[in-house]
């Protein structure tokens, strides 16, 4: 029969599995790292709720904070809306533009959201979802920081705080466009 010490392999075989499961506590199955960081941002062309056309090309030379949101995304989008508005007002003269893209939403609800927070930065709906898919968006809110040359420098999943502006946007301001 099986030798005495070899028998202990039976329970010991379970240990690596347990270790792997414990490792699972440190990971979040819903946090998917984006492959787009460090690559050129996809071009897009949308029309804001005010009827103005916006596109990636139009903002070349400025740092873009591209924020994907929806009026039903509670509480995260509601938490970050004032932060984005404040960031827009603080940085708009320093070569930064905040652009909101509303996805999987209705126009009425979106307008109500914009009015509720008094958002003055450009917001455009993405009715076909093409732009959100082009940016690999899988939930709301998600925010991208794009530099003056159109390269994605950061992606943030979840509600934005002013730390984003401080840590991700500020360092880019000194870089030369083009």
């Amino acid at each position: 029969m099986i030798g005495t010490w070899k028998r202990w392999l039976v329970p010991l075989a379970a240990v690596p599995v347990l270790g792997l499961l414990a490792y699972g506590f440190r990971t979040d199955p819903r946090a998917i790292p984006s492959p787009l960081v460090g690559r050129s941002a996809a071009a897009f062309s949308l029309t804001t709720f005010d009827g103005q056309p916006v596109s990636l090309e139009a903002y070349r030379g400025r740092v873009i904070v591209l924020n994907f949101w929806a009026s039903w995304c509670y509480p995260a989008c509601y938490e970050e809306a004032p932060v984005l508005e404040a960031g827009w007002r603080a940085y708009r003269d320093r070569g930064v533009v905040v652009l909101g893209v509303d996805i999987q939403d209705t126009e009425a609800a979106a307008r109500r959201f914009i009015a509720q927070f008094g958002l003055t930065f450009p917001n455009a709906p993405d009715p076909t979802g093409r732009v959100s898919i082009d940016y690999g968006v899988y939930g709301v809110p998600e925010t991208f920081v794009i530099d003056q040359r159109g390269k994605i420098r950061a992606k943030h999943v979840g509600a934005v705080t002013e730390a984003l502006f401080r840590e991700k946007v500020e360092p880019l301001l000194g870089e030369a466009p083009g």
Partner: protein, 148 residues
């Protein structure tokens, strides 16, 4: 003559367009079943009722109509979302482990069972203790009756 050939050309183009659309739908589903619906839990883009999945199916349809091959369409999504969007891991690199493991496990188990059975059949059976032959016959008859 010229009008006839124009009609024929239009007819052929229409037929080609219809034929392409018909082929596309099955292809769309085939591609959609490979992709993971990003807002759902564990459903494929083909099965998911969500709006996001519908938009993704539209993207697939549009790209196929533009002439892209299924591999290119899938590659586009992987490019944007990462490997995670494939519902079945690509059989390359470390992922090969998950493709090989089931069969390796089965064959390893088969090997163990064969070894064990061979060892056990070689060992002579210990005779049951002190049972009178008449009783043993009765036991055997009972067993056979039960196994019927």
């Amino acid at each position: 003559m010229r009008r006839g050939s124009i009609v024929l050309l239009v007819g052929l183009l229409a037929a080609a367009w219809v034929a392409e659309a018909a082929v596309n739908e099955d292809q769309v589903t085939a591609i959609a079943t490979q992709l993971r619906c990003v807002v759902c839990q564990n459903l494929s883009v083909a099965d998911s009722p969500s709006e996001m999945a519908r938009q993704m199916r539209d993207v697939i349809r549009e790209r196929l109509a533009r002439g892209e091959s299924p591999e290119q369409v899938v590659a586009y999504f992987v490019d944007k979302y990462g490997e995670w969007i494939l519902l079945s891991p690509r059989p390359q690199g470390f992922n090969l482990v998950v493709w090989v493991a089931p069969f390796a496990g089965l064959f390893a188990g088969l090997g163990v069972v064969l070894l064990v059975v061979l060892r056990w059949t070689r060992r002579p059976a210990a005779p049951p203790e002190a049972l009178a032959p008449a009783d043993r016959e009765r036991v055997r008859a009972e067993l056979e009756r039960l196994d019927e």
